[in-house]
Symmetry: D3
């Protein structure tokens, strides 16, 4: 039995049967009426579902669970106050060595094509200094292993395993397009895309539910990224770049949020830093918009106008019905870059 048996927690119909592994995301103990009950929130890569209350013996049995545990569950989808819930029939802890919790977190599956594009672009970098600095990270297998897992945010845009890599690919791709028309140094924009979010490796944790780490909260991923770059460059015996060159790269990292009030430590002062910011913004915000349009919870039934969406500054969105759909199916071209769609 695998989690493949639970196709999509977010859309399972009322009454559907559920069998397989799920990640424990929350454990709550409540007194309901005169009895104590335990409520779990369970998740897999497709979404999350609260359990119906577990009473008495059943409740006691799950009391020891903590967020991050994996359980093997069978049950049925029920409803309470209009919200779907999982009516658990059997539940037991899955041995840690059998199931990796990360298989139960939301994940983006494009790693290969993202790496392939990024590495191809890196290979075209014309300055050996830039190639060396980005190589300190992107030629390091340990870095790649972490980087292709890390989410781009705990609960915002690209909040999935692999989200940071997908976002990095998008920023690089958009940034190159802007650099091309703006007459900017496209290699410097690429280097900025590759380095701008490396601080997120220290700022987030993703072995269980995605969280901000203590260092992430106290320093922020922007300053953490600058620190990681500074430390890594200084660690290597042979200098990979000069001090002013390092400052220029640190400027890209520190300014990529564009404005102080959005979290930039300084505002962009070079054309490439400006472009990096626009590319970062376009990737992150268009991902949030696309997700808002996909999320059925934002719409009543088949309505095309959503309710107001907090994450989009309280905008409402409109999901079209293919007003201008293609007149006939056209195959995607081979050179099509990997879309997050």
């Amino acid at each position: 039995m695998t989690e493949a048996a639970i196709p999509c927690l977010a859309t399972l119909a009322l009454g559907a049967r559920v069998r397989g592994h799920l990640l424990v995301v929350e454990v709550e103990r409540r007194r309901m009426g005169s009895r104590d009950a335990t409520l779990l929130t369970l998740a897999n890569g497709s979404g999350r579902l609260p359990s119906a209350p577990l009473w008495g013996e059943a409740g006691n049995r799950v009391t020891g669970l903590t967020p991050g545990n994996v359980v093997e569950v069978s049950g049925r989808v029920g409803t309470y106050r209009g919200r779907r819930q999982l009516e658990i029939e059997t539940i037991r802890t899955a041995p840690k060595e059998l199931v990796d919790p990360r298989t139960l977190l939301p994940a983006l599956a494009n790693a290969e094509s993202c790496w392939s594009a990024l590495d191809r672009w890196r290979a075209g970098i014309r300055s050996s200094g830039l190639a060396r600095v980005t190589g300190l990270f992107y030629d390091d297998p340990a870095f790649r292993r972490l980087y292709e897992e890390c989410p781009a945010s705990p609960s915002g845009h690209h909040a999935a395993l692999g989200g940071l890599l997908q976002h990095t690919f998008e920023v690089a791709s958009i940034g190159r397009a802007i650099a091309a028309v703006a007459g900017a140094d496209r290699d410097l924009v690429l280097a900025g895309a590759l380095l701008h979010d490396i601080g997120k490796l220290d700022a987030y944790t993703w072995s269980g539910p995605f969280e901000v780490s203590q260092a992430g909260a106290l320093l922020g991923h922007v300053a953490l990224g600058a620190r990681t770059l500074d430390r890594r460059v200084r660690e290597v015996a042979d200098p990979v770049c000069s001090a002013p060159e390092l400052d220029l790269l640190l400027h890209l990292v520190l300014s990529h949020h564009g404005r102080l009030e959005f979290g930039a430590a300084v505002e962009p002062m070079t054309l490439e830093a400006d472009i990096l910011h626009y590319a970062d913004d376009a990737s992150a915000k268009s991902a949030s918009m696309a997700e808002a349009l996909r999320n059925p919870a934002n719409f009543t039934g088949s309505a095309r106008l959503s309710s107001r969406i907090w994450q989009l500054d309280r905008r409402r969105v409109y999901r079209g019905g293919g007003e201008f759909s293609a007149d006939e199916a056209m195959p995607l071209k081979a050179e099509q870059p990997p879309s997050r769609g």
Copy 2:
């Protein structure tokens, strides 16, 4: 004698001789001490220069000039209070039929390659409805003639003859790159790029110095663009699209400034409208940044740090010295898109 004889008004050295046609941009009459003087501001495509005061007979002779006139001038570059000025020796009005004032305005020379890219992309549009609506404008020679002249703004980004076409190309190019990674409808984004600024044809005048027209001031180019699109679609006998389709395109035009406070009539509600806004913003703002970096007036001597620049929200900018320049010259690839550089 042609204006080619005046290579670049903005950088002519002290003492250089000037001979050729110039555009009259301002005419001012002043009493200086006990005498009346006339001061002209003259321009060609490379910049502008004030004249030294013209006294007595000479002053009287130029009194009838108005902004938009073309004059044939000979003189020498002098200086007054540290500012360069043109010491006019001879000046006479050029016959209107001999010199088109537009040859003396700043211009971008990429029209052909911009048209070529835009037309190639239009040819790939998969919805016949979208192709018909954009064709109403882009297959109309009269529209093309105006569109390839119009500046993208009177004194902001792409403020040159042909600036609007260059900007349109950039928005389409960047918008396609964002659409590709965001899984958006790339044809709708392209249509948005093609239509978003058509209101500028009515909002600006460019037969002489660039100005905002009366309609441009009272209605703004955003609402003017929506009006132009609405009128044009309703003019044609056979409907080119349905009413909801028209609304979707009008939404792209009306929302392309992104937020109400930046002049959007409504905020973007579709993924494609959002992407159009990011592409428009990236093109416009990176152009302003690039221009600020190129403008020697923003820097003292060879300083790399500029003074505070009003047009960039009072940011200072940094012009690098090729910190990470290419290790060897690499030819631009043939498929390189036309850069404004």
Copy 3:
């Protein structure tokens, strides 16, 4: 039996009996404990009330209802968790041809006096061009029929059938007063008042619960109003005004929200556009304030200080106790304009 039997849903006392027609505004199906229940929200012109849960057979019988249906109900006002609810005893669908849903929506009853004032003022317009343009709408019976029904907003100020007409009267009345002291063109202000919100006819729907239409969401009532005016003026064979005159009227419509961040497409550039904005603002915001003061839900018991009110930018309000009440009753004068009070 008529809805007159249900005097005011918002203030009916606990235990009061209810008999008559009500509008279905929401239908929710919930699992409560181990049973499924249906909850309705019912409304008439005086307010809305949730039903107690309907179980089993009763619940099934109302499952087919949708918002916009009219039902004939008998029951009693009960309470649950401190909130009043309608304990339904009998309920059945009312035949569509018997009851117009609009009789069950909140309505303002001043149409006649509003029309009378507006038509009298229109008759005094001194420019035949202005008279013709406003007449295109206000002499058209179909326009008048729609206009006197439309709410001024779905859930904000004057959110009632007839609210738009009442608001239009108020804007005209206040605008004339400002124009008088400011030496402005009072006819142009009047025309602005008459035309500024005509886009709301397309932006809202009011055959059932008030909603924003698809066009209303995508284009906004400001741009829709400009489009309606532009189309109507161009439809008539004999031109009713010149192009610059039309631009001036479009400017009034497009700028009436005063500032970009409040939804104006352009900011007011004429004295009359400025005055129209102040009058619109004073009518809309004083209506919201008056309603907040009338709404008992904003106050605890007989307290004079309200809780913080979201719609008034989180202000608290104070309802006085006639501190300076009139020393003796004075009859309202005959020429008193129609108040919304």
Copy 4:
């Protein structure tokens, strides 16, 4: 010789002769080349004009002048650097007892009709308490004498002798119109209009050029107005109103700027305070707009579009050409309220 001999300083043509009394507004001493010169700025009710430099003996003779002095001048309008200046031929100090400096300040001439409207409205107040409190000021001849002189601001809206009275009339007039449609207590709104700016009597000085007083700077006219009302009410032996009534009136004064960031000490909490704010705003801002439209310095030649105007938040304005002018002259009706026009 009287100041009537100088019709309008702001529009006198080049070469026009000037004879009469003028107010000294500024005195500046400068070294020009190798000589010392004195420059005066002179004004009368119609505007202000700088003098040409006065040299040697002439300069010495005017050295003792200070702002607020009145001089008798003859001369001619000349020009320097495109700006008009007064070329003084004779100048001598006018005896203080002969010319009141106030006759040389800008003034609004509507006092009588403003008083008449305000007093008529006051007579209609239905609460004896309100009548008594407003009467403490408006039945006091000393108050009336000061109040009809005071400007409404030193250099903003209604910046003229009598400006405060004109503004008060406008606020009352607009406020009554809003109160009528909003179902508010029109007497309380009237009382608010009458009292809201009484602090300006202490906040400004107008015996010479208009200035903010020391108390005006340190306390602001809002808090000063509250203090004046509080002190006056407590001075009279028989109480004119109760403590809660006084608080309600103080609330009107303290909140009339509407929002904290605009200088309100508290934000409006009653319908009448809200209306007072809208009326105050409409009077002040429409006056600024009207003045910007009248001021030729905002326009180049006969252009209809102005330059950006600092006082209007950098908006540009449009001065129309009677697009919709009346088809025939219509006499103003007798009951027309006094316009500032």
Copy 5:
């Protein structure tokens, strides 16, 4: 039995017994299922706790209670939906003359040391005028009695009996430190600290749960403070200071919120007013931060990172674990000022 028997309502463990006097803070009557229940919120100086529902006879018995009553209670701490509640066994009204409600409100116990520091500093004032004005209040036993009870806010910083006195001490202490390094008049800063919040005596009520009074809502504590100072100074026969001196003190009171948008009637114009604002801000905001760090409700379990905290502008806070704790215990020095800790 006294309230000392209930050590800390906020942290009592599940199952703990409760006996003693509590203050009734809220009374709510709800229909739960088919029965009516009454729910109380009870408090003492250490926090507040909701009761379990009281049914039938028990519910009827407590129906007459109103906020501000004191009751004698016995019961046990239970839980419902994860929230602790008080399961009441016996409850009866305590005679008003036996228990002062104020003994059951949160209180700060530093009054003596605050008075002692403030009086010592007052004794050092070098200007007799300043000493006289502050003495009008601080030498008045009635003022001191009220002042040492008043909270500094109803539910924000120092929201406890005695909070205003503690805050005043803090502002004076911090203000003196800033004045010392800034070369400011330390006595004027002290006078500002002593007078800046005297308006709170009229703006709040604290005989029961802390509330904003009617005058406090309508006028605000800033304008009320200015009024109190103005009235008190004018009441005394012998003038204690000159009019300009009074204005300077009123300026301190009116400007102490620093900026208009934070509620200042005017912005600080003197060095001492500026310093008073910084000291006020530092005292108030560091108190809110300290309280947020102490409040276990902001943290999940023993987590060091809090959830987002509304009162701190949605910041998250970090409670450290003595990272840099003292290497060895060091006794607090005798001259240590009284800390709110």
Copy 6:
């Protein structure tokens, strides 16, 4: 001859003789009329003064000067257009080895007393970890040498040699006072004060006129300070603190501007970081206010109300006349901390 002979450039009277060393701050070459002239701006610690134009031979002789040179000058104070200027009689370059340019920059003279207070407070630090980290800098003579010279800003608050040390002392002094009343860890606040601005050593240059360095512009002093601290701590062989401790100190540095829009990389999350921000703000802003009050250029003559001051957010300030001056002179106490006054 020494610069002591030029007591105060800012206040020297017209006609006063000047002899001594001055720093060249600006060199400008202008064509005036038909001749070329050179204009210098010269400065010493007391202020700056422009020179009268130097013509012909004199002009040529000074053409080679650049900002940062020291010259020996004799001359007289003259005036031009109401502005004082230095009429140079003799001028020659001073040998670099004879005069240190820093003696001619504005300087604060409190270094000794600031060091003494800071070192005394450091000696009281109770945690050996904190003592070690701060000692890495404050026990290093090279650091102290630089730190006691560095200005706290190029042209804002404490813009003088030694300004950073004075500011650090003030922040520590104020921070300790806040920590004392807030129950915070006073040693951590002290460490924050000592470390918060160490990035300014790299962000500014002060060997001539104060400037922002390239690194200062690209990275900002906040991120530079974090980098310096991180590098220094990692350089030493024996760890001086743990990684979480370092994060806590970096948080103090990165958050000391308080809010993102004021340049904080993250917002304060601990009580000590909050207090550090308030202390930094109070020191910097009260210094700007004090300087604005001292600067005669902000006032016309002896006026007490200033013009609007850009650096204080366009506030006007009021300079009192000792309204509440001490009744008799009182000697400053010995333990008085060093004031910047």
